[in-house]
Amino acid sequence: MGIFLKGRILTDRLSVVLDNRLYRVCLGIFGGYAFTAGFFAFVSVLLAQAGAARIEAFFWAILTSFLVYTAVVIWAVATAQPARVTGVLIGGALVMVLSSPFLATPTTGL
């Protein structure tokens, strides 16, 4: 019973923090940056895997990344479920940053 109550208070406190606008802005800026940095790498290696020339994959990432970053910042500030956005951004960033190097196609030489 006591543990349950403690847990309730903790989650309540957590949701207060998550609903805080400053938290959302920080999530948008830093979480959004991490997510976009992951996206840049991930989308380019994925396109290269799908058969695109690597220089083209590189430019596709340049063309799309800043639009993704903008959308993610808007999402983080506007969302009714900040916990979910936190999960998507941080989780997505981790998955993409960690997996991209392994998906990179090796240099075949000149």
Binding site: V25, F58, F66, T70, A80, T107
Partner: protein, 541 residues
């Protein structure tokens, strides 16, 4: 069908975001927009500040070979790398760069007719001061790029949130009530200047970020290449070879290589007139020496050219060549739409107008926020002073400092030097000194500082035109009748800018009492955006 539902909660969070991103970035954004607007005419500013550049552009086709020959046999003997840029319509002198035997970088300008170096006025002028200011703020260690990148992202977020705030975006566009209370006409001006150049306001920050994408995502950009920068360079047409240590046994024939590149591009795109804008020689004298030929801007297109070719000097073989697909071509257009080096003068004026409208948008947004706060008594007088000081110094202060920079450029003698600074360094010091003083002035003088600095801007603009006449003899009547448009245009813009500044100063003096009187008008329907903007930024408690 999916209906886009914009809830009040979403709109209020966008209003909150718009307000605070605006307050946070507006001062810096104004500086960036102001300097970016000046950069549209950076070469023309160079001609105005360096009178040696006021010569007619050559009409015959430029040959690279003789320039390389003259430099390599003369003062650049033993240079390891050398780059030459052809003279252009906006920039009538050629440009050379080389790294000499001792590893020092040497830069200069040459006359395409005589191939002799031309000594030009020692000044950073437009291309080396205003232009880098708008993307680096001249903050060293690369920090400036990140500050500007942050502001550009804030700008994108501001544009998106700003669009969502407006319930009736078309109605707001056609609403401008200059006779209403200052605060309300400020908001109208903010909406009008935002909407009239909306595509440009999105284009500038977005393409600017794309151009520096490899700086902003230093890890991400070459993951696809497994971290292999050399291969990325090769795919972009730059060979990037290492020195072999063996001497070169072949004769360097630059013009043949340039001809090879041009005919290659010509056969790939037969309808387009191609030109080599810059030619570089890398690893000069080494067996691995190679030449990079670049076409940067086709004269009649917005898109930057993707044509880059690296050719071996020893064998004449093509070492690397760019081969742009759809994404690279899209990027070439977008980056070209930011670099704006095309020939069309009319389009360049459109950019200048767009940049100035962006500056107006930023400044009016900031002023609207301040006026609302002051009127409602939300901020205490001390903070008003600080915020106003920042706003005045960042808006009228940087304009005044830019004007003072032009004035001091025409006043300093050629051999000026003091405090360990050369002539160019002194000019820049005056810019920063005046700028800092405008902040101090605003902090001391309060509200009247807007009008006072406007008067100063008016005076400085006229002084610059007068000093240009005195120091070079090129007065406006002469430059207009001789059709020296870069100089005539500069003088006309300076006079027009002075007139606008004096007009603002007079208007501000008239408007002064209106601000202090508390508004008795009932909030009207169209002022809801304003009311919401204020409500959303107030503490909820």
């Amino acid at each position: 069908m999916v209906r886009l539902h914009i809830s009040d909660g979403f709109r209020s969070s966008m209003t909150w975001l718009h307000t605070w991103a605006g307050i946070g970035a507006s001062c810096l954004l104004f500086m960036i927009f102001w300097m970016g607007s000046l950069s549209v005419f950076d070469s023309e500013i160079d001609q105005w500040m360096k009178p040696e550049l006021r010569v007619t552009a050559p009409t015959e086709e430029f040959q690279y070979g003789p320039v390389f020959e003259r430099l390599l046999e003369g003062e650049a003997h033993g240079a390891t790398r050398m780059y030459i840029s052809a003279p252009g319509k906006r920039d009538p002198l050629g440009y050379f760069f080389y790294r000499n035997k001792g590893g020092e970088n040497v830069r200069g300008r040459f006359d395409p007719a005589t191939l002799e170096e031309v000594e030009v006025t020692d000044s950073y002028a437009g291309t080396s001061f205003f232009y880098p200011f708008h993307y680096s703020l001249h903050i060293p260690q690369g920090i400036g790029y990140w500050v500007v990148g942050f502001c550009a992202m804030a700008m994108l977020v501001l544009m998106v949130s700003g669009i969502f705030i407006h319930r009736k975006i078309v109605a707001d566009f056609f609403t401008f009530r200059p006779q209403k209370a200052l605060r309300r006409s400020t908001l109208d001006l903010h909406n009008l200047s935002s909407l009239v150049a909306l595509p440009l306001h999105i284009l500038f920050p977005l393409t600017g970020l794309m151009i520096f994408a490899t700086i902003y995502f230093p890890w991400s950009y070459n993951v696809v290449y497994g971290g292999d920068d050399a291969q990325l360079n090769r795919d972009a047409g730059r060979a990037g070879l290492e020195a072999s240590g063996e001497p070169l046994n072949a004769k360097l024939d630059i013009d043949a290589i340039v001809g090879q590149a041009l005919s290659r591009w010509q056969s790939a795109e037969p309808g387009v007139e191609h030109r080599a804008d810059s030619v570089g020689l890398e690893l000069a004298g080494d067996a691995n020496a190679y030449v990079i030929v670049r076409e940067v801007f086709p004269s009649r297109a917005v898109s930057m050219s993707k044509n880059v070719l690296s050719v071996s000097v020893a064998t004449g073989a093509i070492l690397a060549e760019s081969n742009a697909g759809p994404a690279q071509s899209a990027y070439a257009w977008l980056s070209g739409a930011h670099y704006i080096q095309f020939d069309s003068r009319a389009l360049r004026w459109l950019y200048f107008a767009g940049g100035l409208l962006g500056s107006v948008m930023i400044a009016s947004g900031l002023m609207f926020w301040m006026q609302s706060r002051i009127r409602k008594g939300v901020i205490d007088p001390k903070s008003v002073r600080v915020v106003r000081g920042l706003a005045v110094g960042s808006v009228s202060g940087i304009i005044l400092a830019s004007g003072a920079y032009l004035v001091v450029n025409r006043m300093l003698p050629a051999e000026a030097a003091a405090f360990g600074l050369g002539r160019a360094g002194l000019e820049v010091s005056v810019f920063y000194l005046v700028w800092v003083l405008t902040y101090a002035h605003a902090a001391l003088r309060g509200k009247t500082s807007w009008a006072e600095q406007s008067w100063a801007i008016g005076a400085v603009g006229i002084a610059a035109v007068f000093l240009n006449w005195v120091s070079t003899g090129d007065h406006l009547v002469a430059t207009v009748s001789d059709r020296v448009w870069p100089i005539a245009g500069m003088d006309i813009v300076l006079i027009a800018g002075s007139a606008a500044a004096v007009w603002s100063a007079l208007k501000l003096a008239q408007r002064q009492p209106t601000v202090q009187r508390p508004s008795k008008e009932q909030p009207e329907a169209f002022d809801q955006a304003a009311a919401r903007a204020i409500a959303a930024t107030e503490p909820a408690e």
